[in-house]
Subunit: 128 residues, 2 copies
Amino acid sequence: MDGERTWSIAELADEFGVTLRTIRFYEEQGLLTPARNGTRRIFADGDRVRLGLVLRGKRLGFPLDEIKTIIGMYDAEPGEVGQLRYLLDQVEHRRAELEQRRRDIDATLSDLAELERRCRADLDRLTG
Amino acid sequence: MDGERTWSIAELADEFGVTLRTIRFYEEQGLLTPARNGTRRIFADGDRVRLGLVLRGKRLGFPLDEIKTIIGMYDAEPGEVGQLRYLLDQVEHRRAELEQRRRDIDATLSDLAELERRCRADLDRLTG
DNA sequence: CTTGACGTTTACGTTAACGTAAGTTGAAGG
DNA sequence: CCTTCAACTTACGTTAACGTAAACGTCAAG
């Protein structure tokens, strides 16, 4: 009666375009913690979100253990002041890293744009 | 008499913060092709630029063989029309990939920003 | 009742990107 | 001449992120 859908491992794998092995591996690494029905894994909505975050991290080129700590930051309990300061520090660190990446991307995009101009010029000259 | 400086492997490694092994490995993989003085590697300015491109690609999380093809695109000779069209196609493909990455970065940055807000709020509450 | 479809665990294999010796060489300095 | 330094090659070791095979459980359909 609660609208909480669940998913099988195959459904999730299919939806996100990964293999069953990958999902099991992520659980083994502590990136996912699906419920169980006997031995079968049951994935709830939160598990789907986490898998999405993991794959986004992968597209960004982060290793799995870093992804784990980053995701871990999201659902850390408030805790004490020292913990909070440490967490803020981590957040700042990650942000700097990501902004460096964006600069790298922009530089590469600009290189590609110039390459494209040269290509089009050559094409014009040849097919003129 | 020509202002063309050259560098030893150690100088380049030091400048870019990588090991000698890494540079030799990149040559072995065809990412760099330094000149030689006997057995010693002599790096010219173009080699420096290429190393910079390789490391930028690494920061973006690309595997070395993809980096190789991407860099290869930059210094491809004009060639024939078919080649040019193929190259343009590749450029488009890479651009799409990079733009996806930028979206991922922006999404992550936004997540981090919200996390930071929550942290600061908790800190304010605790430290008054 | 057996055949599939779908799931499970255990465990060894694989690739990428280097790390890390081990042994060699050429030029320079004392 | 001997050593030291900076480079070299060859080759095996290592870690991450799964792939892949083997062997088994379970439940619905024919």
